[in-house]
């Protein structure tokens, strides 16, 4: 039973294109993982969100295994005022990141957008389905992630502010 080679990828574009995102995913107000269009740090109590990032676990080298139990977590705890939020979405329901599908700003600090779940350092299952690793490309659902920054964030502005690494965990058998 040969294990698959996998990679975390981000989907961008109107007709989705998947690309390796392990080197870096910048939460911004763009449909990409590198742009520096910034998210405004609220000037009063409230939370602003990045544009969505469509992340998948993708098979780049086919295996004879089955992948299941895909989970998402943060490697470390974020700075105060920074939160990450996720939700599982079928790849077939891919939506290009845009201002229109960015979660609406919230009036309270640390708010989790509707339909999203707050990401923690404990892996949380976003897709439990078993999918064979024999085919390359996205394996299982997308994990749609947004970053929230609220008024309590004291890290200041910048184009490369630290955010905990995002860990995609999965079972392969």
């Amino acid at each position: 039973m040969a294990a698959a080679t996998c990679q975390a990828q981000i989907g961008t574009g109107s007709s989705v294109t998947w690309a390796n995102v392990e080197a870096g995913c910048k939460f911004n107000l763009e449909d990409n993982a590198t742009g520096t269009t910034p998210i405004q740090i609220p000037t009063a109590t409230g939370t602003n969100y990045s544009w969505i990032k469509n992340i998948v676990l993708a098979v780049t080298g086919a295996g004879t295994t089955t992948i299941s139990n895909r989970r998402v977590s943060m490697a470390t705890s974020p700075a105060t005022g920074i939160t990450l939020h996720w939700k599982g979405v079928a790849v077939a329901s891919y939506a290009q990141a845009a201002s229109g599908n960015r979660p609406a700003s919230a009036g309270s600090n640390g708010a989790t957008p509707a339909t999203y779940t707050l990401m923690t350092t404990t892996p949380a299952v976003y897709d439990s389905a078993s999918v064979a690793s024999s085919g390359t490309g996205p394996n299982g659902m997308m994990c749609v992630i947004v970053l929230g920054v609220d008024y309590s964030y004291a890290g200041g502005p910048g184009s490369a502010q630290a955010v905990p690494n995002i860990v995609i965990t999965y079972d392969e058998a």
């Binding site: 039973m1 040969a2 939460f27 520096t36 998210i39 990045s50 079972d171």
Partner: protein, 1000 residues
């Protein structure tokens, strides 16, 4: 997935102590089994469709067991030799995809049994010192279990016997494993499963512990039970065994040397042949054959995760055949299980696998792009920044606040855009230069071109605004501004007093290559194009603003517009005489043209009338604004400015000096304002108010009637005005007043005034003098004339009419029926007195605490010093009294008491019959008196005595069996009466009643 092979014997995979299955790191599975003739070693790569089988040992004395050598895919095997069951070491070394059998080593000359068929060996792997261990049987009668070890890291060396346990009965199923710092051996001792262990973590092997029966065994294992012990981790081991009531498992903790309660994995009495696989990460799987019917078993398992077991078994191989003797091994995230299948020769050596999920992770390095909006808190009443004057429209609400926030929608900016266009019109300030326009016209209309000589040169040179036939400069660096560029005249736009802002610049310049004449487009060369921007002073000093460059451009016979851009980070201020100046350079890097080569600059505007230019010959600036920020601004209406505000950076208003504020604005804390009617004003000095204004705390006003006033000093107040705290007023009727002097009409209610004339029925309080008519209620006055029926209190002298109630007076003449409390009074009969010193009280008077009184009969007295009390008087605490019969006396010192008086705590009394005495010291009591606590007494008949020290008891004392009881001695301490009865001395103690049957 294919079967491993076949065997002619049913015990082909039989074992319960050792491990027969191994899965290498590349997934290749290895199986040890017996084909009925020889002992075999088979292996296959995933998906296990083809097995390679070799003979490991010729012969059937199978006692196969093995283990991976740590950190490798090499397998160490122990089994019996072909001719006997002497444990022998067989190394299998993996190379590539195959294993090679190395030199064998006989571990012991003692056979592990008369038959090597299964169940007698475990290969336990290496201890912390690198010594390999096996556990095996050791005698033909199966009465011995042994543990042996190799030299450190040399299983091919000479092995040593560490322990040999012999017993009377058969030793079945010796099993064991290395667990933590211990080698542990289990075995069936004929009656129970026992174990012992030795610490083999050091260079010297510790002593083996005394074999002990494993506690908490479940299901009554017996001699037929299969058992297997494997280490799950360094801190947990797992023992599984079959019993007549199913399969059980127990966890062993080496740190505490304890066994857990037994977990029943199955309850079917016919379930059989359990085996274990562990993954080294704390998980274990127990497989067994689950009985369905005779010769019909399923292969099932339960997983143990280090704490919990699967609640129900999982079927790995379905029932339907006779499955027996499974053996399992873990590797490469899989568990492989081999087993014997069938009821007759040939038996199938089956194979099944379980994929164990492996958890993997992918990590995404994340970051965020964030920005924040800078804010400023500003003081003053408007959001104005460094401007001199402003016009603030009406409806702005401004209040004396120290800081405010102005929303970002307030846009205050004086930045003006500026684009300049090259013209062909010579500058009036600098004749060598051409002017620039600031208005865009229609492209390619009213334009011309000029040519500059290049020839065969390369290097830097200037493209003259007015063209030139002079030789190309050709230097290695850009020349200084020469005045042959373009100048923005003040007549077109004066930048004096303005600042060109920092920001983005861009330029278009249209070139063509020409030869001979400017119209003869020909040739081609390569150049870096520069458009340089300067501030030129009236004295001809050039200050660089930006040098825009586009490199390696080909300029040829086709007229082409080239675009350049750049950014400045600081603004440039223009003072008097300063003008904007632009020149154009080329750095020619390739030029193979003839000496007649020209460069042609196109689209210079010839529009000297409207001063409009071509967009192909333009420079776009970041714009400009007055130097120093300011100017004047207009804040539109509807800007709400109140209280505290946060002003965004785009708002440029702060600290103005003066303003004009329209009426209807609500103002406070300002010095001088014209204020329209209906405005609410506070704390101002001088104003004119229309009627109906509400005024407070002002000095002088003209106030229309109906105004409500408070705290004014002088006013003319119409009737019906309510006044308080004024000094002098003329108050009309019906006015309620409180103050110094007033003339108050009748029916007015007054309080705290000095002088008033109050009409009848007026209520007065705290006034020094008043004339109060009859029926007035007066309190706390100094002098009053109070008519009868007036209620007086705290007055010193008053004539009080009859029936008046007086309290707290010193001397009074009180009519009968008046109630008095005081020092001396003359009180008529029937008066009730209390706390008086000297009184004469007629009969029926009630007295308390008087010193001397003559009390009539029936008078009740308490604590008098000396009284003469008539019969039936109740007296307490008197010193000397003559008490008539039936009086009750308490605590008197000396009394003469009549019969039936109750006396307590007296010292000397003469008590009549039936008197009850307690705590007296000396008494003469009549018959039937009960005495307690006395010191000296003469007791007549029937007396019960307790707690006396000395008693003289007279006749008929109720002491049965005593005739006359004379105190034996004077005793102290009381509470005990000694009497003699015959020759016996009796002691009567306090509280006792003692009976004597004989008298002396």
């Amino acid at each position: 997935m294919a079967n491993v092979g076949t065997s002619s014997v049913a015990y082909a995979t039989q074992q319960s102590a050792g491990q027969l299955v191994f899965i290498a790191s590349d997934g290749t599975a290895c199986v040890l089994f017996c084909d009925g003739t020889n002992q075999k070693f088979a292996y296959a790569a995933p998906p296990y469709s083809s097995w390679t089988t070799t003979t490991l040992v010729t012969g059937l004395n199978m006692s196969l067991a093995g283990a991976f050598r740590a950190g490798s895919d090499n397998i160490d095997v122990v089994t019996g030799t072909s001719s006997n069951v002497r444990p022998t070491y067989y190394p299998l070394t993996k190379s590539g995809s195959t294993w090679t059998l190395g030199a064998t080593t006989q571990i012991s000359t003692t056979a592990s049994g008369t038959s090597g068929v299964g169940n007698v060996m475990s290969y336990c792997g290496a201890d912390p010192q690198g010594r390999h261990w096996i556990v095996c049987g050791g005698a033909s009668t199966y009465t011995t279990s042994r543990a042996l070890y190799s030299p450190a890291n040399n299983p091919g060396g000479t092995w040593t016997s560490s322990v040999s346990t012999t017993q009377t009965g058969d030793v079945n199923q010796p099993a064991g494993d290395q667990i933590g710092n211990y080698i542990l051996k289990t075995y069936w001792n004929g009656t129970a499963i026992q174990y012992h262990r030795a610490d083999n973590s050091g260079g010297s092997i510790g002593a083996w512990s005394t074999a002990a029966t494993i506690s908490n065994l479940g299901g009554s294992p017996n001699a037929s039970s299969r058992m297997l012990f494997l280490a799950v981790s360094s801190t947990k081991g797992l023992l599984t065994y079959s019993t007549g009531s199913g399969i059980y498992a127990q966890v062993y903790a080496p740190l505490t040397d304890t066994w857990s309660a037994a977990t029943q994995l199955s309850s079917n009495a016919n379930d059989r042949h359990p085996c274990i696989a562990t993954d080294g990460a704390g998980n274990a799987w127990v497989f067994w054959c689950s009985y369905v019917a005779a010769n019909n078993y399923a292969l099932v398992y339960k997983k143990y995760d280090g704490a919990n077991w699967d609640s129900s078994p999982t079927t790995l191989v379905a029932s339907g055949t006779n499955i027996a003797n499974p053996s399992a091994g873990f590797g490469n995230n899989s568990i492989g299980v081999t087993y014997t299948q069938g009821t007759a020769n040939p038996y199938t050596i089956g194979w099944a696998t379980i994929s164990i999920p492996v958890t993997r992770t992918r990590t995404i390095a994340a970051s965020a792009a964030l920005f924040t909006t800078l804010t400023s808190n500003i003081i003053a009443t408007s959001a104005l920044l460094q401007t001199a004057t402003r016009a603030v429209t009406a409806s702005s609400a401004l209040f004396a606040s120290s800081s405010r926030s102005v929303t970002s929608s307030v846009a205050l900016s004086t930045t003006a855009a500026l684009t300049v266009y090259y013209s062909s019109i010579a500058s009036t300030t600098l004749a060598s230069a051409n002017q620039m326009w600031v208005v865009h016209g229609t492209d390619n209309t009213n334009v011309t071109q000029f040519c500059t000589q290049i020839g065969t040169a390369t290097g830097y040179g200037e493209v003259y605004a007015q063209g030139t036939a002079a030789a190309w400069g050709g230097g290695g660096s850009a020349p200084a501004p020469s005045g042959n560029g373009f100048l923005l005249e003040n007549s077109i736009l004066s930048l004096e007093g303005q600042t060109i802002l920092a920001g983005a610049w861009s330029a278009n310049v249209r070139f063509g290559a020409a030869q001979g004449t400017c119209s003869g487009l020909a040739g081609s060369f390569t150049a870096d194009i520069h458009v340089r921007i300067y501030k030129r002073s009236s004295g001809g000093v050039y200050t660089s603003i930006i040098d825009m460059v586009v490199s390696a451009q080909t300029i040829n016979a086709t007229l082409t517009t080239y675009s350049l851009s750049g950014t400045t980070v600081a603004g440039t201020g223009f003072t008097t005489g300063d003008k904007l100046y632009i020149d154009i350079l080329l750095n020619i890097t390739a030029n193979a043209n003839p000496s007649t080569q020209l460069v042609r600059l196109n689209r210079e505007s010839t529009d000297s009338t409207n001063h409009q230019g071509d967009s192909n010959a333009q420079v776009v600036t970041p714009g400009y604004s007055p130097t120093g920020g300011g100017g004047s601004r207009t804040i539109s209406a509807s800007v709400a400015l109140a209280a505290v505000r946060t002003v965004s950076v785009s708002v440029a208003l702060l600290q103005p000096a003066t303003r004009n504020i329209a009426s209807s604005s609500a103002l406070a804390a300002t010095g001088t304002r014209p204020v329209t009617a209906s405005v609410s004003l506070f704390a101002t000095n001088t104003r004119s108010f229309i009627a109906s204004s509400a005024l407070f705390q002002t000095n002088t006003r003209v106030v229309s009637c109906a105004a409500a006033f408070q705290q004014t000093r002088t006013r003319a107040i119409s009737s019906a005005v309510a006044l308080s705290l004024v000094t002098s007023r003329t108050v009309t009727a019906d006015v309620s007043l409180s103050g110094a002097t007033r003339a108050i009409p009748c029916t007015t209610a007054l309080s705290s005034t000095g002088n008033r004339s109050a009409v009848t029925s007026t209520a007065l309080q705290a006034t020094p003098q008043r004339a109060v008519i009859c029926s007035t209620a007066a309190l706390f006055t100094g002098q009053r004339i109070v008519n009868s029926s007036g209620a007086l209190a705290a007055s010193f002298t008053r004539p009080v009419s009859a029936a008046t109630a007086l309290l707290g007076t010193t001397s009074r003449t009180t009519l009968a029926s008046v109630a008095l409390t005081g020092a001396a009074r003359l009180i008529p009969c029937s008066v009730s007195l209390a706390l008086g010193n000297n009184r004469f009280i007629p009969a029926q008077g009630a007295f308390l605490q008087v010193g001397t009184r003559a009390t009539l009969a029936t008078t009740a007295l308490f604590v008098p010093a000396a009284r003469s009390i008539l019969c039936s008087v109740a007296v307490t605490r008197q010193s000397d009294r003559a008490i008539i019969g039936s009086s009750a006396l308490l605590q008197v010192s000396t009394r003469e008491t009549q019969a039936s008086l109750a006396l307590l705590e007296t010292r000397a009394r003469v008590a009549s019959d039936t008197v009850a005495l307690t705590a007296v010291q000396a008494r003469i009591l009549p018959c039937s008196v009960s005495l307690t606590g006395g010191v000296l007494r003469s007791v007549s008949c029937s007396v019960s005595l307790l707690q006396y020290n000395t008693h003289v008891i007279i006749t008929t004392v109720a002491l049965v069996e005593g005739i006359a009881y004379v105190p034996l001695s004077t005793r102290s301490g009381g509470a005990t009466l000694f009497v003699r009865s015959g020759q016996t001395q009796h002691v009567v103690r306090s509280g006792q009643t003692r009976l004597f049957t004989r008298k002396e």
